[in-house]
Symmetry: C2
Subunit: 420 residues, 2 copies
């Protein structure tokens, strides 16, 4: 039996305390978490072993089991990530705006934590540490709701986080885990707007949809990328093939990997044979629009399949690539408008006019010019870390790092000022 | 019969067009709206007269009827407001961030419109023009859902806005009105996340709650202010009385007016008699905590009523003021934490330590020091205009002007860059 509103109350009151904690104290907690993770390694690995055992008994796939596995080297990786977060500047030190109005009122906008985050995630237990550390660094309390398949690992990890908090004189309830695997607690969490300020779902499209449809709390929608590259007639062929290869092949299972390639008719005969050769050598299979089959006179095969209905609305997350010929940039942009999830879309071109038009008209979180879509990532784009990739236009868009976990307050200082 | 998804589709496609419209063209639309409002004054006043007539027949109060009334001088005021919006800088011209990463990638964050706004409001028909002009200036399409009591006026006003859009070669569907008074369309609007990006409710607490509980689209929660002033022991008595008077009396019907006065025990006997005298002369009645009655040895009367349960959780919106004695600043801050809606709360003090503590610990959209809470307003705080006052911590907090109606996109320019 989990008393969720009790968890909420404790989160709210400990968030207040954390929000006025000095930078050094917050960093010390992170440092202690890193140390304890190494010291208590045996406990963590034992807890994780139970999860792995359960997963095997329940017949989970090897890929799934690999996702939830903690190894000594993965643990070292997690500790290294914590050090990177410690090294980032404190987002709470920033004054966003400061001015004196003509009437003498001093107006400042101070960056403050959001308050209490509710994070709902699946599988990978490193998220437990990642998210908690980003929340702590940015002064936010967090209520975690991990997957049932990692419950033992998450318990062990949260215990360590809470030990570190207590060691630094902070309430352990800054980070809390909903320990029950019952799904109804997810729904209950979404209905506590007085205790939780923001819901961050990390998982598949279904989880995002469930949160959006049921939450009374603002939700960060994102993490689903149907990503496009458009090869303009003027594209540099060699560089473009390399970018396409990277966007599709370097890590096909993630949201910023390429899903659909749109090719201008005028360059298709030149570039597509090279794309097909290089990518199929790496194991890629293709879903080809009729336009491609016709122009290149291709016969459908295991590698060259005919695109079916819905194929251009699919996030592949695997070595599959949709390909379509377009007659001009307008058709490419219209295809993207219709099929993109507004995550990461790009143009490969040497025409300044077309590049500018693409940048202006394509309304995605990340718009690329002659670069791989794989760069949509907090680490890659200079944020140091990321808690999620937002594809909505409210609050934050694209990779969300520490600053994106903050809000601001207006501080208005007068000397007996009244409004006339 | 209203086809809401058709309205949604049209809004989405015209938002795309508006988002790439030059500044001048958007300003020209606003200018034309202003001109047409004056030219077509007779039509507008006639339509408004019908609404007033209906309101009378339905027995609406004089105050309600006054809220929906349009007069020639009010129309002039609206036109003057439009000119102020025209004069504001274009928020879409701003580059939020620009850097070249060590690998040579150029990364920019460009400000872009949010897309399609859904605005749900009551009574005052000037909101129709206000909101449409702010949306247009910031490049957003808008779907309006006004109150049934102003349907005729809103039709006439939206017709003018659409004429101005067409005159400038823009789709008239940039601004659309849901003309049916049926409530189910509000619910339907909240369930169209693919067509609407943000819901802005402008009305009472019930409307906000309804939106939050039913929306699948992000909602700006706000506009409800249970506002506090805390008179610290060190306060300057004369200035403080003036600030309290202004915060309560200058315009008691709005969200940033004072609701509760917290007074340090050490200064209560000095300041409260002056507060009571000046405010009761202006028609204010008081809801006094037992602590006040005891300390000042007051007898309950029509002016000095005993505070009942819930009185300190009430947004008065009238000439009523709750008063309570506190023993120290901690008790004041705790009272605010418990009862405030995090809109506007302030301290009256000359102690730098207490001022700093109050600023740090009180987590409201606007935190005041020695100034009236009445300044929480886009115009007063230098935003030029406002579409709403947000009391949530996501996206925007406090007064929302043009910039707060925008998002951003990442533009990443490479030269064949791939991720390693």
């Amino acid at each position: 039996m989990v008393d969720l509103s009790e968890i909420g109350k404790r989160a709210r009151s400990s968030a207040r305390i954390l929000s006025i904690t000095p930078t050094e104290q917050r960093n010390n907690v992170l440092r202690d978490i890193g140390q304890l993770l190494l010291e208590k390694q045996t406990n963590i690995l034992a807890a994780n072993e139970k999860d792995v055992e359960n997963a095997r008994q329940q017949g989970l796939s090897d890929a799934m089991i690999d996702r939830l596995l903690i190894t000594p080297s993965r643990l070292e990786g997690i500790v290294a990530d914590i050090q990177r977060v410690i090294d980032l500047p404190d987002p709470l030190k920033e004054i966003l705006d400061e001015q004196v109005l003509p009437n003498g009122l001093q107006v400042r906008k101070l960056r403050v934590p959001i308050g209490v985050l509710g994070v709902i995630y699946e599988s990978r237990p490193n998220v437990t540490i990642d998210v908690s550390c980003l929340a702590l660094k940015s002064g936010n309390a967090v209520i975690l709701r991990g997957g049932s398949e990692t419950i033992e690992s998450n318990r062990a990890l949260v215990e360590i986080i809470q030990m570190a908090l207590q060691k630094q004189g902070l309430p352990s309830q800054v980070v809390q885990l909903i320990e029950s695997p019952e799904r109804r607690y997810v729904l209950d969490l979404l209905k506590m707007p007085s205790y939780v300020d923001l819901i961050i779902p990390r998982g598949g499209a279904k989880l995002h949809q469930f949160c959006r449809e049921n939450s009374q709390i603002p939700v960060i929608v994102g993490g689903i990328g149907i990503c496009h590259l458009f090869v303009d007639e003027s594209a540099d062929v060699e560089k473009s093939v390399e970018v396409i290869f990277n966007a599709k092949v370097q890590r096909p299972t993630v949201c910023n990997a390429l899903d659909t390639l749109l090719v201008h008719r005028g360059i298709a005969r030149t570039i597509l044979p090279k794309v097909f050769e290089q990518l199929s050598n790496a194991g890629v299979t293709f879903r080809l629009d009729q336009s491609v089959l016709k122009l290149l006179n291709l016969q459908p095969s295991r590698v060259y399949q005919v695109a079916g209905e819905g194929d251009f609305d699919t996030e592949w997350l695997s070595l599959v690539l949709g390909v379509k010929i377009v007659d001009n940039i307008d058709e490419a942009i219209e295809h993207i408008e219709q099929h993109s999830t507004a995550h990461s879309d790009g143009i490969l071109s040497t025409s300044p006019e077309n590049i500018e038009m693409f940048i202006q008209r394509v309304d995605s979180a990340a718009v690329y010019v002659n670069a791989s879509t794989r760069f949509t990532d907090g680490g890659q784009l200079g944020l140091g870390a990321e808690v999620a990739v937002s594809t909505q236009k409210i609050h934050a868009r694209g990779p969300m790092g520490l600053k994106e976990l903050t809000s601001y307050k207006w501080v208005i200082v007068g000397d007996g000022h009244v409004r006339r």
